[in-house]
């Protein structure tokens, strides 16, 4: 299968602090990859490299000509000083056909708060708007940074179900940072455990047997919790 994005030997550091160390990663069409790892492990930086808003210190990022990325940030990362309605935001910098706009509005059930100020939306509403904005770009790679972080359990289920449906029906590749492995375990095809370097990666079932992963999550998948201590049998220099 063709690679949408291919990262080769990527290194990234900020003022001599090593953030990412020799990362190799291929994202293919129809991939569903979940990145996990402790705070400050470089997860968001990895995503920003792929988007192009950060440049690596060394290594190469090869992007397919057909690549169309859309990005859903964490909800807190939206500037709150601009007075702007949800609909205005959705239509920013993009000519959108009315038909596809209506379809996404219906699918995500966001019609009721299109005319609300972004600042006045609840966490769940704002996350849906951010997702809608991404979908309006008609991406073949959807990148999400802890998208369901501030949602309640039913909101999380709804959100992840939608992502899964999108992946299955539209064959959109998904790259997601998430700690909600217990919910997406059945959808995600590949889990990457990141702590500055890729500690372990693979199918959820296989990775669940990996000693590194076991140390993190324990044996009982059903008891996975979103906050965990990250232990490894190797040391980080």
């Amino acid at each position: 299968m063709i690679d949408l994005v291919s990262l080769k030997n990527i290194n990234l550091s900020f003022s001599s602090k090593n953030i990412l160390d020799n990362i190799n990663l291929d994202i293919k069409k129809n991939d569903f990859i979940t990145i996990i790892g402790p705070n400050g492990a470089g997860k968001s930086s990895l995503i920003r490299l792929i988007i192009g808003s950060l440049q690596p210190n060394s290594g190469k990022i090869i992007r397919n000509k057909e690549l169309k990325i859309a990005y859903v940030p964490q909800k807190m990362q939206i500037n709150q000083t601009i007075p702007i309605k949800a609909e205005y935001f959705l239509k920013l910098n993009k000519k959108i056909e009315e038909k596809s706009f209506k379809k996404i509005v219906n699918d995500l059930k966001i019609a009721d708060f299109l005319h609300t100020q972004l600042n006045d939306l609840s966490g769940g509403q704002r996350q849906k708007i951010l997702l809608a904005k991404a979908l309006l770009c008609q991406p073949n790679l959807l990148i999400l940074d802890e998208p369901a972080q501030n949602l309640d359990i039913s909101g999380q289920l709804e959100f992840y179900n939608y992502i899964t449906k999108l992946h299955q029906e539209k064959k959109t590749a998904i790259l997601m940072i998430s700690h909600d492995l217990h919910i997406i375990m059945s959808s995600t095809k590949k889990v990457i455990c990141l702590n500055h370097h890729i500690c372990c990666q693979g199918e959820p079932k296989i990775i669940a047997q990996n000693p590194d992963f076991k140390e993190i999550f324990g044996n009982d998948m059903n008891k996975l919790i979103s906050i965990y201590n990250h232990y490894h049998n190797h040391h980080h220099g």
């Binding site: 900020f14 003022s15 920003r48 988007i51 192009g52 808003s53 990325i69 859309a70 990005y71 940030p73 990362q77 939206i78 500037n79 000083t81 601009i82 007075p83 702007i84 309605k85 205005y88 935001f89 920013l92 910098n93 993009k94 100020q117 904005k133 991404a134 770009c137 990148i143």
Partner: protein, 265 residues
């Protein structure tokens, strides 16, 4: 009214049109202190310009762009906090300017440059203001949605193919240009007020970015015209009187808003 005051008013309107548009972005991006620092640093441009008999406008523009580039470079190096860097920049600029001035025996109207003066405005300046307007407005309006998206979240913008570094550079140059042409009217100390006060008032009463731009422009133009007339009639210092008027409008807008909020609680 004589020709003199009409000239001043035309200049003030031009400046208001520019500062209110840029001011919206300064408020959104929380860059008030950035604008202030560049304005302070521009005093060095004025000093060098006067002493070496180089065109002052050119020197201000060169110094502000230089300082903005140095600042951008240092920010990327993560050596110091942004706050400290801006402080060093602003006061470094003022101090250097004063040192340069004290070396020569040129008469330096410091108060005029700090607070602005009517006497500075010449035909050339009016030409310059409107030339700047014809550069700045098309750039802002052509890229309006891109700038807003970048301000909301630069990573979303980047994923949609907008290059944040390029637009940051464009924006910085526009700010430098704005400061250059505004300084003669408002003075070094009050440039930022003309950028942020009308936009902040507009923020309180606006529901969309476009609305905010329109309100900020109306407020700014009104305050400038009234300020010019008062300054001329009562021989008041120009920059401070314009700012005082905007502050009065701010109070008029903010008090009902606060009362309304308290009543809702």
């Amino acid at each position: 009214m004589d020709e003199f005051i009409i000239k001043i008013i035309i200049a003030a309107i031009g400046i208001s049109l520019i500062t209110s548009a840029l001011g919206c972005f300064i408020v959104w991006k929380k860059m008030a202190y950035f604008g202030d620092s560049l304005a302070h640093a521009s005093l060095l441009g004025i000093a060098i310009g006067i002493i070496f008999a180089i065109d002052i406008n050119l020197m201000i523009l060169a110094i502000t762009i230089c300082f903005a580039l140095i600042l951008g470079y240092l920010q990327n190096k993560n050596i110091l906090s942004n706050d400290a860097l801006l402080g060093i920049l602003a006061h470094g600029g003022i101090s250097l300017a004063m040192v340069v001035v004290s070396f020569s025996h040129v008469i330096f109207n410091l108060e005029g440059f700090l607070f602005g003066s009517l006497l500075f405005v010449e035909n050339d300046d009016i030409f310059l203001i409107y030339a700047a307007l014809f550069i700045i407005y098309p750039i802002i309006f052509y890229n309006w949605q891109k700038f807003i998206l970048l301000t909301l979240n630069s990573d979303i913008a980047c994923s949609m193919g907008i290059n944040p570094a390029k637009y940051r550079m464009i924006f910085t140059i526009l700010i430098a240009l704005t400061i250059t042409i505004t300084i003669k009217i408002t003075g070094v100390l009050l440039v930022t007020s003309l950028l942020i006060i009308p936009a902040s008032i507009a923020r309180i009463i606006s529901k969309s970015p476009n609305q905010m731009l329109v309100f900020a422009t109306l407020i700014s133009v009104f305050a400038s015209i009234l300020g010019c007339l008062l300054s001329y009639k009562f021989d008041l210092i120009l920059g401070p009187i314009i700012i005082a008027i905007t502050i009065a409008i701010f109070i008029l807008v903010v008090i009902p808003k606060l009362t309304l909020k308290t009543m809702q609680k």
